[in-house]
Symmetry: C2
Subunit: 301 residues, 2 copies
């Protein structure tokens, strides 16, 4: 392992999981954590998320050869500014943000003299905060690294090695392509989930209590990701606007077509779509990207 | 228990689960099953889903005091026609269909001299067929009964008692209201899930393999219900068209508003929605309608 000292800035679900994952998989690596919220720092000390918790962001990165920013994408620029005075000249600066083009831009602008290699571990749960983390979050998940042009090859390899040792499979991707792929596989699903849960909670002729009672018919699946961290997701939509709008318009077009099919009682069009979509689920299960048990393995009774 | 002999017509996920649930909870009740597909009947015999499997629908209901139709809602009329010659005059005819107004109408037209009490157990998984059934499917789930005007009170009570003994909580509801509630909590979620999975699989600049690889970012949640039985769901949308279109238009309106908020970079509108939706999730967990473990209790690593 090229990195001996890792600083983790931001100790929510991702940062706390990263601290615990390093403890589990890389026992020789020393971790220092920081969070802007003193209560989170206190909780992090209590939980032993890192070997040390600093009260100052510049102090947190002082001896780090790898700094991983684990804050909402809208807070990346401020976090980079805050750590700048403490950074060693050869430290690698990375992150875990869900959108990559604008994060890369903000970090490069703020830290022009440092090696910045943005990354995105595609992993998470609907929970947030320092108590939500767990060491296996990144295992068997993808970590997408979006290196800028002309990046130092050995530092890129070192970052890939770091994530692989935490159990992830590393993929190198262009930041623009990343933002388009993630718009489809993550951002639009979250936006749809938030919206339908909002639609349901605003109804007058169907009460909120009925929506909750009968949610096992399908609705409850959407409520999980609609319980995700509001700040994180607001920032994602502000930062990946173009790709999200492009995918959204395709989805809106397809949804309009299904609306027309229902209005026209076109059973064949519905049957055709409903059959095609099974293949995607099969692919996900075959590649071990979801629990194959019925109903996500939820407990029955 | 008022019913001694129960006939189950249709042995897919719901019918097979019903057979197994009766065996588990009501060992004194005799069940006879029928399915239009000979291969399903053979499988049902092999699995012991019912005490007897008949090769003829009229023979299956001959001694039944309760008949439960477990076929797609579009096949209810044909199933009722097929069992008519064998029905005892005082038998109760019920069903498990996900839409109720048109099913009630079709059954009443086909069997004008019988007691028809439609019902809908709000339970299921994305799997289908006789091997997908399990005895606890209905436990801690709601069963909505939508009795017609002037129904025999003792027969209604008997049907409610039957479902309660299988572990369900029974709710009595007007069929029209049922169809509106379920449009929100089940039908629209399925339609959205089918559509977004279709949108993703039709993309050109993001490959299907990328959609599958990075599905853990949220998308995979939608693929589960988008793997549900295509015939069943086509029929639901054909049979609950009005309520589905009404709810769909509300959702489309809300989604358009979120699209505008993203375009206008209106972070406050997003944050407001994303915060409100957490309350619904909390309600669902408090009422035991979903697994409270993070990520539906999916296995990590």
């Amino acid at each position: 392992m090229a990195f001996r000292n890792v600083a983790i800035i931001g100790l929510g679900l991702l940062g706390s999981s990263l601290g615990l994952a390093v403890r589990k998989h890389l026992p020789d690596v020393h971790t220092t954590g920081f969070d802007a919220d003193p209560a989170v720092r206190e909780k992090a000390r209590e939980l032993g998320l890192c070997h040390a918790i600093a009260d100052d962001p510049a102090a947190a990165v002082r001896s780090a050869d790898l700094v991983v920013l684990c804050v909402p994408v809208g807070a990346m620029r401020a976090a980079a500014t805050a750590i700048a005075p403490g950074l060693a000249p050869d430290a690698v600066i990375s992150d875990v943000g869900s959108s990559k083009q604008r994060v890369a831009h903000a970090l490069a602008e703020t830290l022009p003299d440092h090696t910045i290699i943005p990354a995105h571990p595609v992993a998470g749960t609907e929970q947030s905060g320092p108590e939500a983390g767990f060491a296996s979050l990144f295992e068997k998940r993808w970590c997408i690294i979006t290196p800028p042009d002309g990046v130092d090859a050995s530092k890129l390899e070192a970052l890939g090695d770091f994530w692989r040792r935490l159990g992830s499979t590393v993929e190198i991707m262009d930041a623009e392509h990343h933002d388009m792929v993630l718009a489809v596989t993550s951002h639009i699903p979250h936006l749809i989930a938030y919206t339908i849960v909002g639609t349901a909670s605003d109804l007058e002729d169907v009460t909120r209590s009925e929506v909750i009672k009968y949610s096992a018919g399908g609705f409850r699946d959407f409520t999980r990701i609609a319980a995700s961290d509001p700040t994180m997701w607001r920032d994602v939509f502000l930062h990946n606007k173009d790709a999200v709008l492009e995918m959204m318009d395709r989805f809106l077009g397809d949804l309009g077509a299904m609306r027309d099919a229902i209005e026209a009682a076109d059973g064949d069009a519905m049957f055709d779509l409903f059959s095609r979509t099974r293949a995607i689920r099969r692919g996900i299960l075959e590649q071990g990207q979801d629990d194959a048990r019925p109903d996500f393995g939820r407990e029955h009774s």
